[in-house]
């Protein structure tokens, strides 16, 4: 029969040595800690490096909060607030800049009085590759002013060209975060935020990849070209596919389909 002498150190080389918090540590513990503590710090730094170094590329988005950006063009409110400006670098010479408010409640913007008119708008630019968005800070009372300038018809009312019906697979994003406010502004960790943003009026975008792997971002509308209904919210940020009509309006690609056309993959 053997006696049980405790689960730790049953036969200590020096039974007098035991670490007691309120006393000086025994030499054997001091020696151990002198080796273990630096190793612990190295482990903390190494683990942080390893984990942070493997994070996914958040994409090319930018939120240029350091400067106020000013644009002049035609104010559009349907299906979402946007301003069309002259930009000779784009096909058709027009660029569409979506307009959002600060935070997640873009529907608070009151724009109907100036719908279709020429305006100058000021705000913070959000940009992902060719897609641009202007965020209006709440403290800029005169962020939207009437403008007097002649704009080509292509800017005021660009042609609407149907590119046919396609079945696309990708993910539904809130355009604001995806364009650059949050990097990354996609994936399940961002689902709640994206859902809140779209509920608050931020335009949803359909982020898809073409067969050759290129990224394409299409503004989502209902099948009749109106704002996307809120029953799309449960599908936000999940991998989905949908069949809908692709429409080009100026430089902007729209994906027109009702919520029922979307299915989680």
């Amino acid at each position: 029969m053997s006696l049980y002498k405790g689960v730790i150190d049953p036969k200590p080389s020096n039974p007098r040595e035991m670490f007691v918090g309120w006393a000086d540590a025994p030499a054997v513990d001091r020696r151990f800690l002198l080796g273990a503590l630096p190793l612990g710090l190295a482990g903390a730094g190494g683990a942080a490096w390893l984990i942070a170094n493997e994070l996914d590329d958040p994409g090319a988005g930018a939120w240029l909060t350091g400067a106020t950006h000013e644009i002049t063009g035609t104010l559009i409110t349907d299906p979402y607030p946007m301003i069309r400006i002259i930009d000779q670098t784009t096909p058709g010479g027009v660029r569409t800049v979506l307009i959002v408010a600060q935070g997640k409640c873009t529907s608070a913007l009151q724009l109907n009085d100036q719908r279709g008119s020429q305006v100058t708008a000021r705000g913070v630019l959000i940009q992902r590759k060719q897609r641009q968005m202007l965020e209006v800070p709440p403290f800029l009372d005169d962020w939207l002013m009437p403008a007097k300038m002649e704009l080509a018809a292509a800017v005021v009312s660009p042609p609407v060209k149907s590119l046919g019906t396609s079945r696309l697979a990708g993910a539904i994003m809130d355009s604001k975060c995806f364009f650059g406010v949050m990097r990354p502004g996609r994936g399940k960790t961002h689902k709640a935020c994206a859902s809140l943003c779209i509920r608050g009026g931020v335009p949803p975008s359909f982020w898809v990849r073409t067969k050759d792997g290129a990224e394409s971002v299409l503004l989502m509308t209902s099948a009749d070209g109106g704002p996307m209904p809120m029953d799309i919210l449960p599908l936000v940020a999940d991998p989905v596919e949908a069949e809908g009509e692709i429409v080009r309006v100026g430089d902007l690609l729209q994906f027109r389909a009702n919520t029922s056309a979307y299915a989680r993959i």
Binding site: K5, G6, D9, P15, L55, K104, K188, T189
Partner: protein, 355 residues
């Protein structure tokens, strides 16, 4: 020990422990942020707030993993006892880091929208009926609430007022909290990030912690089973006095499932409960210092003959009657009320003595 309540009863070891922990946390989050900001291609910079949320989240999980590892490691080797000593401070710091993670995530992902942030936490993702789609945020929130309860009741004031068994049971909630965090990570970050490193690290960490606990549990179960032959009706035979290391103890299971710590000191034998009044620490793994049984976890002390802490402290633990017959030590398995003086058994020079 608790003759008076202070926010923290500082000593040199606690200060070193806390300073080291703060340095490790700052180092971890700093390296995470710097590497996270530098590692992406030009023009693809990650959002510093999102990075901070992730750094704080990973730090919380890492710290909780360390906390859960310290207990079993300290039972494998006494060299880990210094890490056990101030584990409660590590727990409170873990809650602090978790609070920063929770606060930033709530602010960044759920505020400034059409819903109250706390409502958004539960309502923005309605896929409660889906495993892969399940709102991982609520799992993290549940774990956070557990950490909150543990942090707010961590002080000895609560330990004394809730009683040690209730306090211990409450703090065993750390295990559900850890499992909630594993699912929070699995259904959140692991479903967003592509690198295989993250599921691999999470799995290895969870399996290692589980295996460590299972191994230690098996060792104790095996040890208890090995002592079954000692059980008898009436007095329980422990063994020869010389089988007990001087100024130390042997631990024996009793018929009703309790454990008794039988100490040998100054040519005497005394027996007390193995559970420290403080946090149920294993008294039998401590030793006799300055004439008092000293708990290896936090250094609480009790006199061997009556189980009372030396003045000015007033804590009491149960004692057991002991006797030596025919060179063998016996313990009466019926515990005396805490603080009851019990005559130690005197070890005769040739072994045979009776109390």
């Amino acid at each position: 020990m608790g003759h008076q309540y202070k926010a923290i009863q500082w000593n040199k070891n606690k200060i070193i422990y806390d300073l080291y922990t703060v340095v490790a946390i700052v180092l971890f989050i700093g390296v995470f942020m710097v590497v996270g900001l530098q590692t992406q291609p030009t023009g693809h910079a990650a959002d510093p707030v999102v990075l901070a949320i992730r750094a704080l989240g990973v730090a919380t999980f890492t710290m909780l993993t360390v906390i859960l590892a310290i207990g079993p490691l300290a039972r494998l080797s006494p060299r880990f006892s210094p890490m056990l000593y101030n584990r409660r401070h590590l727990g409170v710091m873990t809650f602090t880091v978790a609070s920063a993670h929770f606060g930033l995530a709530l602010l960044w992902y759920h505020s400034s929208g059409p819903l109250n942030p706390l409502v958004s936490l539960f309502a923005s993702n309605p896929l409660y009926d889906s495993i892969p789609g399940f709102p991982f945020e609520v799992l993290g929130f549940a774990a956070f609430l557990i950490l909150f309860v543990m942090a707010t009741t961590s002080h000895d004031f609560w330990l004394n007022n809730l009683s040690a068994p209730v306090w211990k049971a409450l703090h065993m909630l750390v295990y559900p909290a850890y499992i909630l965090l594993v699912f929070h990570i699995t259904l959140g970050a692991l479903m967003t990030e592509k690198s295989i490193l993250y599921p691999a690290l999470t799995a290895v960490t969870f399996i290692s912690i589980s295996a460590l606990h299972l191994y230690i549990g098996y060792r104790e179960w095996h040890a208890d089973n090995g002592m079954k032959s000692l059980k008898a009706k009436g007095w329980v035979e422990i063994g020869a006095p010389d089988d007990i290391p001087n100024m130390r103890a042997v631990i024996a299971p009793l018929p009703k499932g309790d454990r008794v710590a039988v100490f040998r000191y100054d040519n005497k034998i005394s027996a007390v409960t193995n559970a420290c009044r403080h946090q149920n620490g294993p008294l039998g793994e401590g030793r006799v210092i300055d004439g008092c049984i000293t708990c290896p976890w936090h250094g609480w002390q009790y006199r061997p003959d009556d189980g009372v802490s030396p003045p000015p402290f007033t804590e009491k633990i149960a004692t057991y009657k002991v006797k030596i017959e025919a060179g063998r030590v016996f313990v009466n398995p019926k515990p005396n009320p805490p603080g009851t003086r019990t005559e130690p058994a005197i070890i005769a020079k040739q072994g045979a003595a009776v109390t």
